[in-house]
Amino acid sequence: MSNNDRRGFLAASAGLGLVAIAPGVHLMQVAQARPAGEPASKLQRWGMLVDTTKCASGCTACVSACATENGINEQVADPRQAAQWIRKIDIKDPKNGRQHSLPMMCQHCAEPPCVDVCPTGASMKRADGIVLVDRHICIGCRYCMMACPYKARSFVHQPLTQQNPEVPRGLGCVESCTLCVHRVDKGQKPACVEACPEGAMLFGDLEDPNSDIARRIAQTATTQVRADLKLNTGVRYQGI
């Protein structure tokens, strides 16, 4: 079974057969920038809702936007070493032929297995639910990569020089989607959400009952991939 098949199976096993037609909710939402000097609060929990019924197969706008925003531009020697901040996967139910395309990235779990297994405390969850790698203390052991059920982490195998100033990344550390934490802290949305031409990605505060994302989750059927693991993911899907 190839790597992609495994990933497809992973997402497919999350649950098929639910068809949730999106209500005509506009997906833009304005977040508030946190005042300077204030830490992230646990009264917020950032999350994302992906409407797979709108996500077009073959479209990689979110992946390109992520690469541009986060300076992921290195050529890797082996495709298995490629950065896995976000990737598009196509899944198909073999029984009825129903197909989906969806972006897969760090699911920003409330109970992240990557944090559980990290021997140094580098893998961490911020108070507002964003799961990050503190590269200052990451020793590159890659336990977290093995622990992640979503294959959402990758390791940098080569020296890098083209990093964006706001997104440090480099050789010998594990990395993953940061939910564009540098943008979120400024009150902006993640780059992928902003780039999606279909408006299929909704970003917001899951803890705020008045936010668009919390209302959508309260009203429509949404799925957590591998909900059986009870990780309480911050990234939810609609339509799979």
Binding site: R34, I72, Q75, R126, Q163, N164, P165
Partner: protein, 125 residues
């Protein structure tokens, strides 16, 4: 032969030494400060404590999400990047001139971008 070498050394060594120590007697790194007087703290304090300030704020920012405090590495770079390359590393540039003089290895630049205002062009890997 030995006498010739001794004479040579006696003659040449003091000259070499003194020429290297010209001025106040101690070799100094060349530090070019592009924007003088705009630092977040007086020079003496920065020289002694910049590493602690950076490390303290790095943990606050990285782990707690505190933004907008003064001692940010990007803040240093914006002000101190050398005019010729736009970078704080490289010969005679702000960070490296002192650190190579003091033989203190910097690994900030393994991950952080040393060039001010750098914008990476994204290519899907």
């Amino acid at each position: 032969m030995r006498r010739a070498v001794t004479l040579f050394l006696l003659g040449v060594l003091p000259w070499l030494t003194f020429s290297a120590w010209a001025g106040d007697g101690v070799p100094k790194p060349t530090i070019v400060i592009a924007n003088e007087g705009k630092c977040i703290a007086p020079t003496e304090e920065m020289r002694r404590n910049h590493m602690d300030m950076l490390k303290h704020q790095r943990d606050e920012t990285m782990r707690k999400g505190v933004r907008g405090k003064p001692a940010s590495l990007n803040g240093c770079i914006e002000c101190h990047a050398g005019k010729s390359t736009g970078s704080v590393i490289g010969k005679d540039h702000f960070c490296e001139s002192c650190h190579s003089y003091a033989a203190v290895k910097l690994d900030c630049w393994d991950c952080h971008q040393p060039k001010a205002g750098f914008k990476a062009a994204g290519v899907k890997p």
